[in-house]
């Protein structure tokens, strides 16, 4: 469900960028980073994105999602470890609880890939 909201936010952000461009370029790919320690399902995002961009300036644009695993840092052992989501979050070596999360909380729009449009007769709706 909330993937729909997230997608709305994504589309608005991209639209802002698009409208700030003097020559409306053709957006080809949107790169996202989605951590595994979030409530977002990459598949759900893909699905919502496709549904919500139909017949808009983003129709057919590819959503490239980089899945980032959860990585925590143990202060006692001074090392990173990979908790097993759903099973075990404490340090496998010393059993300290999960204090610092290094990676896995990301929910980010990284960058856009676009190409310039040379054909002046091409009109862009939306």
């Amino acid at each position: 469900m909330h993937e729909i909201d997230m997608t709305k936010a994504l589309i608005l952000t991209v639209k802002d960028w698009y409208e700030s461009q003097p020559e409306k370029p053709k957006i080809e790919k949107i790169h996202l980073t989605v951590g595994q320690f979030t409530c977002v399902e990459p598949l759900g995002l893909q699905f919502a994105f496709e549904a919500q961009t139909r017949n808009t300036f983003l129709a057919g644009v590819e959503l490239v999602i980089k899945d980032v695993p959860l990585i925590a840092f143990c202060h006692s052992c001074q090392q990173e470890y990979k908790p097993e989501i759903g099973l075990q979050y404490s340090c496998p070596d010393c059993k300290s609880p999960m204090n610092d999360i290094r990676y896995g909380r990301e929910l980010k729009i990284d960058r856009l890939e676009y190409s310039a449009i040379n054909n002046q007769h091409l009109s862009i709706s939306n």
Binding site: M1, S90, L107, K108, R111
Partner: protein
């Protein structure tokens, strides 16, 4: 020739919600209100907790409730009996409250009540253990409830909520003897995800933990002039 370019965006997907939440928090801060976001899966006991909190604290503190549950009128009606402002939010089919919805509630507070007289706003979120924790609404603290009937493994399965909580209430402890459940195990599972969280076992039926919860609420309230909450903390410390 097909040449592609890159444009860096570097923006959080929740950016707009976050900005809205910061805006809401500014309103609360201006009025001297502490806001707590109450979250749990459906039926863990949020409304009962609010009822007992209102009953115990409404003489001491000025409290309002923003009621975001989908069965909204039912819960709101239960809470109106305590003669405090109860603002229902129509969440539609959303699985969480977001900062925009709560802004609507704040708007009503501003125009129909005197928010500067309030100390505490309790927000009952939509019953859902997954995403409400990701959508800040402008709260100063997050309270999560987990009832003993839900099982020991829920913190492991829905870790984000348990990671984000400032206070975790293990509710319905009166039912524990009838279930094959180990309270220590629940606590252990929560602590491995969030070692900082305050855990309070609670029963609305027997009253177990209620005083501890009420103390916690009062300890997080920032009363600009008075130091009620701080005073309480000191009392506790000197006892130990």
């Amino acid at each position: 020739m097909h040449q592609t370019f890159d444009a860096a965006i570097e923006l959080n997907l929740l950016h707009a919600n976050q900005e809205g939440a910061d805006h809401n928090r500014q309103h609360f801060d201006k009025w001297g209100i502490t806001c707590l976001n109450i979250m749990s899966s459906p039926g863990a006991g949020k409304t009962v907790l609010l009822e007992q909190t209102l009953k115990a604290l409404k003489a001491k503190l000025n409290i309002a409730v923003i009621e975001g549950d989908m069965t909204t009128q039912l819960d709101a009606d239960r809470l109106r009996k305590y003669n405090v402002p109860v603002i229902p939010i129509n969440t539609g089919r959303s699985c969480h409250l977001d900062s925009k919805m709560v802004a609507g509630g704040i708007h009503i507070l501003e125009h129909q009540y005197q928010p500067q007289n309030l100390d505490l706003v309790l927000v009952e979120n939509v019953g859902n253990l997954v995403c409400p924790a990701e959508f800040e609404v402008g709260e100063h603290g997050k309270v999560a409830l987990l009832s003993v009937t839900e099982g020991e493994d829920k913190p492991l399965k829905y870790p984000v909520m348990f990671r984000e909580a400032d206070c975790l209430l293990i509710t319905k402890t009166d039912l524990a003897p009838y279930l094959d459940i180990d309270l220590d195990r629940i606590t252990f599972n929560i602590k491995q995800i969030n070692p900082q969280v305050t855990i309070i076992p609670l029963s609305a039926k027997t009253g177990e933990g209620l005083e501890t919860w009420l103390d916690w609420v009062q300890s997080v309230i920032c009363i600009p002039s008075g130091t009620k909450a701080k005073h309480k903390e000191q009392q506790k410390e000197t006892k130990i």
